[in-house]
């Protein structure tokens, strides 16, 4: 494998054995025209590309969103660290929404159908996506994966689609899956500083459910500090205190879900 070096301007290269002697003075803006030979004595040709690396995923996400729109289904991407309580929250959610809103689930897990089996007991449509087939198990859902799951669901009979992403505070935040909104479950056992350590995730969501509030008497959790940290990263997020274990706050969470409109202003696509 190549050798890495970092230059003062932050540029990183890996070289694969052979020596390069080109000048390392890349500017932030690469504005070379097609066929510009000026920097390279070796006569290599530079081709301008300027393509966003997520373009292909984002196109698939737009297709997913169009499918949901065609059947007037509101999609929500639910993310969290492992064990924060996504599946427990969804169990409570399905029970609470029964008779009020027809919810379907896309269940993402690296391995096993344990979570999907838990949710299947509530009579909702559940489509399981195991990501373990990817290279070493994908740590997130991406839009093409969700497209596959959507084809297993009868969207016309749904009002709401909840996508339970793979438990992970880093990777899922980077990949649009094609839902209209995104939310995350944060457990108070995770520590108040998490919004500062995982700002991309906390910034990407429309709502944060603060879960496991029933444990407050047993912990030194500083709710005000957590809320201040969250506000610093995402001042506009809806914040809901809840306990999936006791059921407290589930009504507020479900009210938020049922208030969502596909074309609502302020709803950031995710």
């Amino acid at each position: 494998m190549g050798r890495f070096h970092r230059h003062d301007d932050g540029t990183v290269h890996s070289h694969d054995g052979h020596e390069h002697d080109h000048p390392h003075d890349h500017d932030t803006a690469h504005d070379h025209d097609h066929g510009d030979h000026s920097r390279y004595a070796t006569g290599t040709e530079r081709v301008t590309v300027l393509e966003r690396i997520f373009d292909e995923n984002d196109r698939a996400a737009a297709d997913n969103r169009a499918l949901l729109d065609a059947d007037s289904v509101v999609g929500v991407n639910l993310m969290s660290s492992p064990g924060a309580g996504k599946t427990a929250l969804l169990e409570r959610t399905l029970a609470h929404l029964e008779g009020r809103s027809r919810a379907g689930i896309v269940e993402g897990d690296i391995e096993t159908s344990i979570d999907a089996d838990r949710l299947a007991g509530y009579g909702a449509q559940v489509s399981l996506l195991n990501t373990g087939d990817g290279f070493g198990g994908e740590c997130h859902l991406d839009a093409p994966m969700v497209a596959k799951a959507l084809s297993d669901l009868d969207l016309a009979s749904l009002d709401l689609l909840l996508v339970e992403n793979v438990g992970n505070l880093v990777c899922p935040a980077e990949f649009e899956v094609g839902t209209h909104y995104s939310a995350m479950v944060y457990a108070i056992t995770e520590g108040e500083e998490k919004p500062l350590k995982y700002p991309v995730m906390f910034r990407a969501v429309d709502a944060v459910v603060i879960n496991k509030m029933d444990l407050v008497p047993h912990l030194d959790f500083d709710l005000d500090l957590f809320r201040a940290n969250l506000r610093g990263i995402n001042p506009g997020a809806t914040v809901i205190e809840a306990s999936a274990r006791t059921g407290n706050g589930i009504d507020s969470w479900c009210s938020w879900l049922m208030s969502l409109r596909r074309d609502a202003p302020g709803g950031s696509p995710a």
Binding site: R6, G10, V47, I53, F54, V170
Partner: protein, 113 residues
């Protein structure tokens, strides 16, 4: 640890842009707000391109600083240290990100044919 899938996405972009021509270096812009470790990305690029026409090509990553524009004091700043998105000048959280979220292939250097 999603650098592998990112490299697969990069490979898709490069394959389309190269149109079969041999590639020496792939130039990327990666904003520092992106949760990408440049060294890991370079390592994964070797794995993803192994035994393909892109084998032996390398990534050159321009790691772009985060620049914030404050709505309160209108000053542009670059936050240091932990990624709290607050204005360095006045401490306001009412900021927009000018740079730091880039993630794109800017250009390719083709091999001498």
């Amino acid at each position: 640890m999603h650098e592998l899938s990112l490299c697969n996405a990069i490979r898709g972009v490069v394959d389309r842009a190269a149109e079969g021509r041999p590639v020496d270096t792939v130039h990327l812009q990666v904003g520092k707000f992106r949760q990408v470790v440049p060294e890991t990305l370079c390592y994964c690029w070797g794995l993803v391109t192994e035994a393909s026409p892109l084998a032996g090509s390398t990534l050159s990553i321009d790691h772009v600083d985060i620049r914030l524009k404050c709505a309160a004091c209108t000053v542009e700043t670059t936050p240091q240290g932990p990624l709290a998105l607050v204005c360095v000048n006045c401490g306001s959280g009412d900021v927009s990100m000018l740079t730091g979220e880039e993630f794109l292939v800017t250009s390719l250097d083709l091999k001498e044919s």
